[in-house]
Amino acid sequence: MLVLGIETSCDETAAAVVESGKRILSNPVFSQIDKHAEFGGVVPELAARSHLEGILQTIDLALREAGVGLERIGLVAATCGPGLIGGLLVGLSIAKALALGKELPFIGINHVEAHIYANFLAVPDLTPPLLCLTVSGGHTDLIYMEDHGEYRILGRTRDDAAGEAFDKAARVLGLGYPGGPFLEKLARQGRPRIPLVQTDSLAGTYDFSFSGLKTALINKINHYRQKKKEVPAADLAASFQEQAVSFLVDRTFRAADDLQVKTVLLSGGVAANKELRERFQEQAGRRGIRFAVPPPQLCTDNAAMVAACGYYRFHKFGPSPLDLPVFPRLSWNLKE
């Protein structure tokens, strides 16, 4: 079965054709980063405008690259939340209309769940149960996936998402937008020698908090400035990254031990971070369990993951109604 996926929840306009939830036939992604860079963050109205301007060309391109017409598609899947309402509405509306016109089934997809499915595209022989940490600019969720469509949220962030924390840290260090990749690059030139937070206030839980780390970073920078000392930006970046990654590693592998899982996954935009991938690899290796992470282009937002997720959900739960609303603050409504 060929699934057409559509993704417009944040600042990428994307469409994809995926076969049987596993094989990507096409996966074009148009990033709007340049349009938002000068504002230092995603401007929802501009994002929604760009989505409407580009969505049809993107869908058309996805079908042409896949070498198929709409009549070969068996299911249309689109992200219905969480995300920015204006963008979600564009993608969901056009997906429903395509399905209506061609008399095809339609399914609305949870964007966070879709990120997990980037792994099923990258490693087709994966099977649940497994543990997945989804980290991006919008979410930090530690999820136990019992089976397709069956999840338990073990932990989530109490304040900033991990990617948001990286972006904010980059901003206080005077780096470009979006900050995550710039921070990672700078950290490579430094050493994690500066202790930022003394205590882990959520130690023992599976939840995350990054605001304390961000405040500690700001205080350190101010401290150097007050003493008229040069700010050791590279070392600070390395220290921040090391500490943030340690939080992520600690929760995930404590959960892996507690639940005795055999497979650990990373997903979401921050999963492109090399330090994070290496530390996960090392921890998994030490325990002799399997670790998988999608290639960077499948970690960031794309529609192939939406199509893959749609395939599995459709076979388990059937289609969504044509009047399905968008859920800007969608969280996990399944066995949470």
Binding site: L52, L56, L89, L322, D323
Partner: protein
């Protein structure tokens, strides 16, 4: 020609089906807040009730505002998806023209006015000639006072059609030369008819080019300009 008309730019949305001059279906639903998602299901219901498969459609007509940006985008996205999947053309019609077309009898100027907040209105100016509406002024954002002043100078009776915003001010401003009629939603079938006429005249498919009428810039853009002006004048 079998035509679907849909509009979601105003608080009340609409879907209509016509076959040439025959109106087959029309329904209105609340689309704000958060009802625009129901439009595809409403279209499906409309098609089923007249016994058409989706592929029987030959033209899609969508309202392009002015109105709620989010609302207009929903309507246009639905229209684009349908037109693309069916391989048929898309025509967009401005909402004020569609409102003006609701009135059939007024001999003078017709001025649809919608609240655009901060003491401004979206307004356009139309005159009926036989069966056609000619557009004297396209949709624009007007400060209420400026619109009154402009219409006074026309020295012609004016019929306001609108959502009630500034009703008393507008009618008082023009005195006995004005009437106000509450008309705050588009008729899907009327919209379909306007689109059909437009299509027959110009044959211009807006499948890829049809976008909302963004008559205002975004807050972010306004703030950016103010920032750069401050930078330019100050330091």
């Amino acid at each position: 020609m079998r035509v679907l008309g849909l509009d979601t730019s105003l608080p009340t949305g609409t879907v209509g089906l016509i076959d040439g001059v025959n109106v087959l279906y029309e329904e209105k639903i609340a689309v704000r807040p958060g009802g625009g998602e129901k439009i595809p299901a409403l279209i499906q219901k409309a098609l089923q009730s007249v016994g058409w498969r989706p592929k029987y459609l030959e033209l899609v007509v969508a309202g392009k505002g002015p109105g709620s940006y989010t609302g207009v985008r929903v309507g246009l996205a639905v229209a684009k998806g349908l037109a693309y999947s069916l391989g048929i053309p898309l025509v967009s019609i401005n909402t004020l023209l569609a409102l003006a077309a609701n009135d059939q009898g007024w001999p003078g100027l017709v001025c649809p006015v919608l609240d655009a907040r901060r003491r401004t209105v979206y307004a356009g100016l139309y005159r009926r000639q036989e069966w056609d509406l000619s557009e004297l002024r396209p949709p624009e954002v007007w400060p209420v006072e400026d619109l009154i002043e402009f219409l006074r100078r026309q020295k012609t009776p004016v019929l306001f059609l609108g959502d009630g915003a500034y009703r008393d001010e507008l009618t008082a401003g023009l005195g006995s030369a004005a009437r106000y009629k509450r008309e705050d939603s588009v008729h899907g079938a009327v919209l379909a008819g306007l689109g059909l006429t437009r299509w027959q005249k110009r044959k211009k498919n807006e499948l890829y080019t049809g976008l909302p009428l963004y008559l205002r810039r975004t807050e972010a853009e306004i703030q950016r300009e103010q920032r750069s002006m401050r930078g330019g004048c100050g330091s």
